[in-house]
Amino acid sequence: MSDEYKVRKLRDLDPPAATPTTLRANSLMRWSPLRAVLEQQDHVPATSRRKVAEYGLNGSNTWHVPDDTTGDPNNAGGAQLYPDDMWRLVERQVFTLTPGCMLEGHVLYVGAGTVQKDTGGGFFIHDGAWGEVRVGLTLTSADGLSTTGPHYFSLLMPGSGKGDYGGGENEGGGEDWITLQEKLIKSIQPDDFATDATVSSVYSEGAVAEVTIELSGAPRIAHMAVYEMPLVHVQAHDASDEQSVHALPAGLAPLTSRPVEKGVDGVYAEPRFGTTRMMNVAATQAEHLGPIILGISCWEEDAGLFDQAEGDPFTTTSTTFDDLYDSTNSTWTADNPGHIVAASHAQLHRLCDENMILRGEAAVIPVTVRVDAQASVTAGVVRVQSSPYEWVDVAIPVAARSDYTAVGYLYSQVHADHAAANVQVFFKAGAAGTTDVYYVSVEFGHGR
């Protein structure tokens, strides 16, 4: 690998508008409209703010953290009444990171609850009132050969100061709204990503991210979102694989009058200079950039699982498909509760073209489905379905809990205001078996 790198910061880009009309036939070849195209290519990944993971009340009207009135936290020899400092996993999503982007978190919370310390032997003492949330990030390079992480980034939240032990709940009407606080968890990225090109060049293009959200103590979080923030795209100079960022250098002379694969043969090649590079970027963006479709976590806020390391999985022993959330619901319909495939802006010509293929009557997108699950006795199946004819089945073999992946196609909205593409997730077990599902991640595309 070259020790020279192409670097493009993806913040504060303000590309000039590039339109086909500025490149009319029979007009003089000018440098500026073409340069505008090349610069605007970098703007596409820089628009990403995809929400990739989240946690919160999720419909619940009850915190999973007990109120201060539950009992004396210094209950020597008694049962555990409040959370301790054990980390509890509440969300885990796996997805392909938008090239050049890293992550940021936004947390909405109220005063934390009371915490106990486990002194061993079943003895607990009061450990104050506080809560902590941390986001874990593990990256795997597109070629699967390099990994880094988990890197953790946390936020400490103070106790509410209420009740006998400092962690009481709000009681007045709307008081949770009034005391709502918000903070950012910034720069969720490997420590050396922004400073070491040997690191950032490995994870800038096509890296797969595993994001976790974990709790410790007694946080009361109404909602938190982890989302992509464009940062910097770095690549080795001799990288000739798919690239989503053009990274047009500022200091080079205008293009030659004819297309070339590379510009100046100097100390190193400069392939981003040429027309081939421009088309590589356009084709790569079209094929690989798209929305996060949906994410599901088994965590249930009102189940009060403050003393568990993780939520209870969705579980079934049914040998026919049941809805993940509701075993009484076993059939897909457009009217049922579900998620949505909101990918109208990411339709691919070869699947959807508005004139000759699906003619604007329907839309279908490629997706990758990852399921964190396990099956016992006999194999199970998880099905993600968005129309009567489009679904993706993920086989869950009899094995230890793991991530299982399948690719396929899902029906999407044709336009963003198209009332369609309801997604239900179903699962089933094999004969006499059990299927447990912890997390589901669905993203646009078929990977690299």
Partner: protein
């Protein structure tokens, strides 16, 4: 996964936009439709190749070398037929000298369809609802390179789909398998050989064969049922024409100027500008408490009056924060609501979705909302409710680009019911999809 240069291989060099025959597309190698003349009609090639086939009694064929059907990694065959549970025979057979290069689709008694490649059955499907009497079926075998391949044994991915057009029933089988060894042979449709061996005994209506993976939805809209284009008020720009991004196009050759390549890329970059827009709210709620007028009106730390409101109640469990990219102006919103009356007549329920620039009460607070009042008595165990609101709302965001999204409810907002106490509401889910609504009049707004 093919490299970017290989995507151009999706399109044959001779392919082009036809525009005059709706079922003949860029990738279509053969299209035959029965207009009442049976096999004579089906043997007329309506594709761009316009290369009619020879006919047998109940089949038609193109003798070897039928070069255009010598496909190895990607194809799609679609067959529209009438058949019953005693019908048998081939939908098509690409018949080569080497059996391993044959590929065909077979129907056995009982409606069992098998897709065969390399002398091996790669996928099997029973026609849904197959019966004694004839019914109309559309069968599709669509093949593509397997993105998750780990070796030769699973290099390709097949979807075998079948619709019972009469009943609407559908089934699908997905399988992985080897690449087809290239070899030129004869293309026999509705038989196994040019001589008519293993003829299809049902009634064929149409056949289309192409060199591109087709989704199940594509076969549906082309052969099963017509679908109206959904109306829209927003701007949906997305990929229109694949780039001929292959060095064999000569586009970077010494005798070519920048023009076409630049034009393609300029068009593309505009069409990709909103590609990464992801839903700001895409929830099927994990917890779904039942709300009543009494609960919404009670003193509850998590329930507050909606901003600048006295009737609607905003519930903390549905509050979300989300970053709204600069490429979107509006959200298309829907909320899934189950609304019933525990006793008596259905009660009107107001469902409102808010986009807010800050938390209520904070400096710089602005909000926009959409409301729908629904009057339903959803029956327990019969329905799970339905999607309501389904409207556009402008995004209100702060300087950081964030918007705060919330749902508020109100039982009987117009005081039209005397049965408010029996209203029960469950909100099962909520979607907020970002989009760009063009300005009507005035200056154009760049994405």
């Amino acid at each position: 996964v093919p490299g970017w240069g290989a995507w151009a291989a999706l399109w044959g060099a001779e392919s082009y936009q036809q525009g005059y025959e709706p079922l003949a597309k860029q990738d279509t190698l053969y299209l035959g439709v029965d207009g009442g003349g049976g096999i004579t009609d089906l043997a007329v090639d309506l594709s761009q190749y316009d290369d009619d086939q020879a006919t047998g009694a109940t089949w038609h064929f193109e003798a070897a070398p039928a070069t255009r059907f010598n496909l190895t990694t990607e194809w799609c065959g679609e067959f529209d037929v009438d058949c019953n549970d005693t019908d048998t025979g081939r939908f098509f057979t690409y018949d080569c000298a080497t059996a391993a290069s044959d590929y065909y689709l077979n129907l056995a008694a009982g409606g069992v369809v098998t897709a065969v490649l390399n002398s091996t059955t790669v996928a099997t499907l029973t026609l849904p609802g197959i019966a004694v009497g004839d019914q109309q079926y559309v069968v599709q075998w669509s093949v593509q390179p397997n993105p998750l391949t780990t070796g030769a044994a699973n290099a390709l991915r097949s979807e075998l789909c079948a619709w019972n057009v009469d009943t609407g029933a559908f089934d699908k089988a997905v399988a992985t398998h080897v690449v087809r060894p290239a070899e030129t042979g004869a293309m026999n449709i509705w038989a196994a050989r040019t001589t008519g061996t293993t003829p299809f005994t049902g009634v064929p209506h149409a056949v289309r064969f192409g060199e591109r993976f087709h989704s199940a939805s594509e076969a549906y809209v082309d052969f099963v049922a017509s679908v109206s284009e959904p109306s829209t008020v927003i701007d949906t720009t997305c990929e229109h024409e694949s780039l001929p991004a292959d060095t064999t196009t000569g586009i970077h050759g010494r005798d070519n100027f920048h023009g076409p390549a630049a034009l393609w890329a300029a068009d593309k970059v505009n069409r990709l500008e909103r590609r990464l827009l992801s839903p700001l709210y895409n929830k099927r709620f994990r917890d779904t408490p039942t709300w009543t007028d009494a609960l919404l009106s009670a003193t509850d730390a998590k329930v507050r009056a909606a901003p600048n409101e006295t009737q609607y109640r905003m519930v903390l469990g549905w509050l979300q924060v989300a970053p709204a990219p600069e490429t979107c102006s509006h959200l298309w919103v829907r909320c899934h609501v189950f609304s019933r009356a525990g006793a008596g007549a259905a009660v009107p329920v107001g469902v409102r979705f808010y986009s807010m620039s800050a938390l209520p009460g904070e400096l710089g607070f602005q909000e926009a909302h959409v409301t729908e009042v629904v009057t339903r008595d959803d029956e327990v165990g019969v329905t799970f409710g339905q999607w309501d609101v389904e409207s556009l709302v402008p995004i209100k965001r702060n300087a950081d680009g964030k918007t705060y999204l919330a749902i508020a409810l109100c039982v009987d907002p117009e005081s039209a019911s005397a049965n408010d106490a029996n209203s029960q509401i469950i909100v099962y889910g909520c979607h907020a999809v970002p989009c760009f609504k063009p300005v009507q009049g005035g200056f154009p707004v760049a994405p």
